[in-house]
């Protein structure tokens, strides 16, 4: 008995790809935001904090719709992308990755920020006293000490990205082979009469992936603590 049909494997593969793109794209942004939010004297910090956490508390459909407004062909950013690169995000794999990235960003920022805030500021003072400038300190002290948190954030973000539904379906639609990730494929299977068996198998794969991601992130957090 075959576990999945070829077109279902396509959905699994697409999910993994979308997650990878989303995490790779979101990680530097999350690092920057976490670094900004970890500075206690940053002006406008509460506002930025709220904005970063918005996708976590908004209904995902609303997030997807806001992305549609921004990045749609008529939207300000979407029009700009079209004019500059002739690129379009709506209804594309890249679009699915963008929606996924936005949804997982708060989780990643939180994880990274915790590890940044755990760094003794005295170590950065010591580095400065030894002649290290700001960027030097960030690269040689802050980053290595936050590395376990950053890696864990990537793993948690990846695990979470595999389950994104609302924002993806709203912004990138449900196009098999292009934007139909696992959750969307499960949803589609459930819409068809007699699709429960397929849905169950897809759900099983989804469960395994999510568990794997969580375990990796937990291992990273435990093993890599300095």
């Amino acid at each position: 008995m075959k576990l999945l049909e070829p077109d279902q494997w396509v959905a699994v593969w697409l999910t993994l790809r979308v997650g990878a793109i989303a995490v790779c794209g979101a990680l530097p942004v999350a690092l920057l935001l976490a670094w900004l939010l970890a500075r206690p004297r940053l002006p406008g910090r509460p506002l930025l904090d709220a904005a970063v956490h918005l996708p976590m508390v908004l209904p995902p459909v609303v997030t997807g719709w806001l992305l549609l407004l921004l990045f749609g062909v008529q939207g300000p950013l979407g029009a700009l992308l079209w004019r500059l690169f002739h690129a379009r995000l709506v209804f594309t794999t890249a679009g699915a990755a963008l929606a996924t990235a936005v949804m997982t960003l708060p989780l990643m920022v939180r994880t990274i920020r915790l590890s940044l805030e755990a760094i003794d500021p005295g170590l950065l003072q010591a580095a400065a006293g030894l002649g290290a400038g700001g960027l030097d300190r960030f690269v040689t002290v802050t980053l290595p000490l936050a590395a376990p948190g950053v890696l864990a954030a990537a793993a948690i973000g990846y695990a979470a990205s595999l389950g994104e539904f609302g924002a993806v379906i709203t912004f990138a639609a449900n196009i098999p082979g292009r934007t139909q990730t696992l959750p969307l494929a499960i949803y589609s299977a459930l819409q068809e009469p007699g699709g429960e068996a397929v849905a169950a198998r897809l759900a099983g794969v989804s469960l395994l992936l999510a568990l794997g991601g969580l375990m990796v992130s937990e291992l990273l957090l435990r093993r890599l603590r300095w």
Partner: protein
């Protein structure tokens, strides 16, 4: 060469600092005072970690801060050693040591020791490949000192480097610090609230109290001054030289200014410098010129009263004694009751005999001093 530190600052809590310290370099400049007096703030300002409302900081004429000038810490070349050592946990001991050295490559060595020399000086050979987590408190501080030295600083700033350690660990590190002072001509600013550390190491002492500097000068003069007289552990500091050993009697002779003192036999070679502490409350005074009765005190010093300072409210007085027949020079202190001052008829110019037990004299490596 001088170190000039001056700052004024008002904290949001209303507390104010108004400090000015000036000291000759090279040498060890001690900042001495109770916790919370402003010592650490002064060091942080020197290092560029804290920016006061107003400050003028110069090391050997180099302006670190002044009107319109505020160098960031990474450009000050002040080697910092903190109480909590602040070693990088993600680096090995060797990598910690090299962190500052790698960033000071363009800086002239200026007589400062290289990597191997620092490792030897601080006894770090066995630690090089270790992770910093596995080090004891004393080892951590030695690594921190080495790391700061290798960054080729103009001055080493040590903020209570020993106060996180127990007595045994402190006794382990103090000789290393004394070695640094004797081998290198590197100026050191040393913050402490422990009198014995200051006495062991410092050349200049600044007394910091409640955000003010209440006295600054050569350590012997500051310790003998009015600012310290009220302390129960007040003592006179004598910088002398070992002039003879008498192994049979188990004594060594140390001469400092006009005083010649017998101390318990020490290991230092004849001719080497030795710093002694004479606790004021251990000194007994005899009036008159007559020879003293037979006494267990090894030192019976002819002296003259230079000054008598009543200690307010305690019924006590601090008597400043100079060697008989010598003018301005080192002095010893006697902490006695005001009643004794009356009974002995003490006043400036009167001759006395000062009895000092050898075992009460603080000698390096013994009794904590």
């Amino acid at each position: 060469m001088t170190l000039d530190l001056a700052l004024r600052h008002r904290f949001p809590t209303g507390r104010t600092l108004d400090l000015a310290v000036s000291a000759p370099l090279p040498g060890i400049v001690g900042l001495f005072g109770p916790s919370g007096a402003g010592k650490s703030t002064l060091v942080a300002a020197l290092c560029g970690l804290f920016r006061p409302d107003w400050s003028e900081i110069r090391v050997d004429g180099r302006v670190l801060s002044g009107p319109g000038i505020w160098l960031p810490p990474e450009r000050r070349r002040i080697g910092m050693v903190f109480q909590d050592s602040r070693l990088f946990p993600h680096l090995s001991v060797a990598a910690n040591l090299r962190y500052g050295a790698r960033r000071a490559r363009g800086v002239p060595a200026g007589g400062l020791p290289g990597f191997d020399e620092v490792v030897a000086l601080l006894g770090l050979q066995a630690l090089l490949t270790r992770r910093t987590r596995a080090l004891s408190g004393g080892e951590r501080q030695r690594v921190a000192i080495g790391r700061a030295l290798l960054s080729r600083p103009l001055l080493l700033a040590m903020d209570e480097p020993l106060s996180g350690l127990d007595a045994a660990r402190r006794a382990e590190i103090l000789p290393y610090l004394a070695r640094l002072r004797d081998r290198l001509r590197l100026p050191i600013l040393y913050v402490t609230h422990a009198l014995d550390e200051a006495m062991r190491l410092c050349d200049t002492l600044a007394l910091i109290e409640d955000g003010r500097c209440t006295g600054c000068g050569p350590i012997a003069a500051i310790l003998a001054g009015a600012g310290m007289a009220g302390r129960a552990d007040a003592q006179a500091l004598l910088d002398g030289r070992v002039t003879a050993h008498d192994p049979q009697r188990g004594l060594s002779r140390v001469e400092a200014g006009g005083f010649a003192l017998l101390v318990p036999l020490c290991a230092q070679a004849v001719g080497s410098a030795m710093r002694l502490g004479v606790p004021a409350r251990e000194v007994i005074l005899l009036a008159g010129e007559s020879p003293p009765p037979v006494t267990s005190a090894q030192n019976v010093l002819p002296a003259r009263v230079r000054e008598i300072r009543p200690l307010d409210g305690a019924g006590l007085a601090s008597v400043v004694l100079e060697p008989d027949g010598e003018g301005a020079g080192p002095v010893i202190l006697a902490r006695i009751t005001a009643d004794s001052v009356q009974r002995l008829g003490l006043r400036p110019g009167v001759g006395v005999l000062a009895l000092v037990k050898s075992v009460s004299i603080m000698v390096p490596g013994r009794g904590g001093a």
